[in-house]
Point group: C2
Chain length 329, copies 2
Amino acid sequence: MEQPIRVTFLGPIASFSHQAAVETFGSSADLLPCVSFADAFAAVQEEKADYAIIPCENSTNGSVVQTLDLLADPNGLYGNVKVCGEHYLTIHHCLLTRKGDFLPDQEDYKSISRLYTHPQAWGQCDVFLEKNLKGVERQDVSSTSKGAEIVSKERSERTAAIASRFAAEHHGLEILAENIEDNANNTTRFLVLVNAQADRPATVDFNHIKASVTPGGTAQKKTLISFMVPQDRAGALADALLIFKTHGMNLTSINSRPSQVKAWKYMFLVEGHLTPTSLNADAVSGILHGLKQVTEYCRYLGTWTDQLVPSFEDEAVQYAYTHGDLILQ
Amino acid sequence: MEQPIRVTFLGPIASFSHQAAVETFGSSADLLPCVSFADAFAAVQEEKADYAIIPCENSTNGSVVQTLDLLADPNGLYGNVKVCGEHYLTIHHCLLTRKGDFLPDQEDYKSISRLYTHPQAWGQCDVFLEKNLKGVERQDVSSTSKGAEIVSKERSERTAAIASRFAAEHHGLEILAENIEDNANNTTRFLVLVNAQADRPATVDFNHIKASVTPGGTAQKKTLISFMVPQDRAGALADALLIFKTHGMNLTSINSRPSQVKAWKYMFLVEGHLTPTSLNADAVSGILHGLKQVTEYCRYLGTWTDQLVPSFEDEAVQYAYTHGDLILQ
């Protein structure tokens, strides 16, 4: 019998990363919470997990720098870790209480004695809180799911948490109000990490990951490459970026992080788009060859299938998220 | 008699921004603390202050996203705000107590009952704390200078704060130990903001700012420009960046932030270097003209004199910070 796939996610249990792991890998996978971003990278590097899933970017707040710094990997700790997939998760918040504590009635909200959530979530639910729960005591906790856990263990007080439906189900809480966030399109992008030396990627078979490892697919691919350029050569960064264009790759994202090698020297993390064709099959290796001529350091960090498809309603901040099957048609 | 220059800085009193303001503008300026990054921008836009000084980047932690988001200015609130200078401040921490409470003796440290500082400073003083203050209760506060203030008002307990020499002087505290940070080169870059419509910049006369407004200087200049590119045109970002190179400007920094206009669409903030010569006098206007052809939006955010001069010891993470006079020679 085949071993279940081991996937580590950024904990605690019932976190948004946990939800992303279930949506990507299904619930038959062996899902293991880890306590930090670095632990997720180490688990993949040391083959304690087959995959890791961690947040890398939010549509409102931007990049998650902990993930960028680990991908930049200045000390070469995670040489075998590559990105092999991505998953988009829209962040919806709910007002959660213990079952039977409250009626789903706005009037009854007023007797809530204390609210728990992650500091960022207060700002994300401003309109709802201002209208319904003004003046209620607020307690910051380290994650929204931690707040749900605290409320689930409450014995005497009538407290509530702001957390996901997923956390409500996990901790057996009642959903008093759903989708209480101000911005219904606040979305987090997660990256799926794999060990390039392990044999997992070629044999697995599930939605998103299948798409990224199927050779010859025509879906749009994303590639991530990191590099450092000499500080004293004018135009070095522009030269490096031009190489992507020369090989037909459309730059979609550039992040710079302190190199940790020298102050004010940066590691650049560049992501590009390419629709594979017979003509550009060697584009990525061509880019890497070109970058070696103009950079001090460059590293390939993986290629995977783009899971983001812009909606046709170009005016609205609205996107449809694809499934592996759909994008492979 | 001329009015004193009004400079707002990111408070509280005795913060690193306050220190940067004193080092840049001198103590004769009218220095006004503000409570948020947005307040600093608003004060300049509304001419309630002549200048603002705010952190934009740290050599270890990278960009300060609050500053980037305000420079990106998606709602056009700060149309007159430009960058006119920069200041580098090396972050040194001290162990501070009330005068007379302790002897400057490591043995005596053990009777400290509680330590106060900003969460980030614990990690920056790890070696010293592990060696000298292991197990002492730690209390997070909103800034290192706030910790110094709390200790200065202490009446019964023998508490200590980790904060700057500047905060010690401001709050009348004793320095038990100086430069207790692990990394002696951890440096923050501050930007000086000015209202481009006000007449302050052309008439002021002090170190750094003088350098940036003197026409015809030969010091290396930095220019900041923001832009958005169409998402659906392949190579649009590379085309935009190539324009900087074409006009002889060396890209030194690229940051991308969510545009807030549409999910996964970015505002790029690009900084470039140029040593002014008679041949490239029109480089910046040439770049802006070129960008208008290939971007959806672009905005000039200022030109100022580079205050960072790399040391000749290229191996070491060590830099010499220049003074306005020096760089103008």
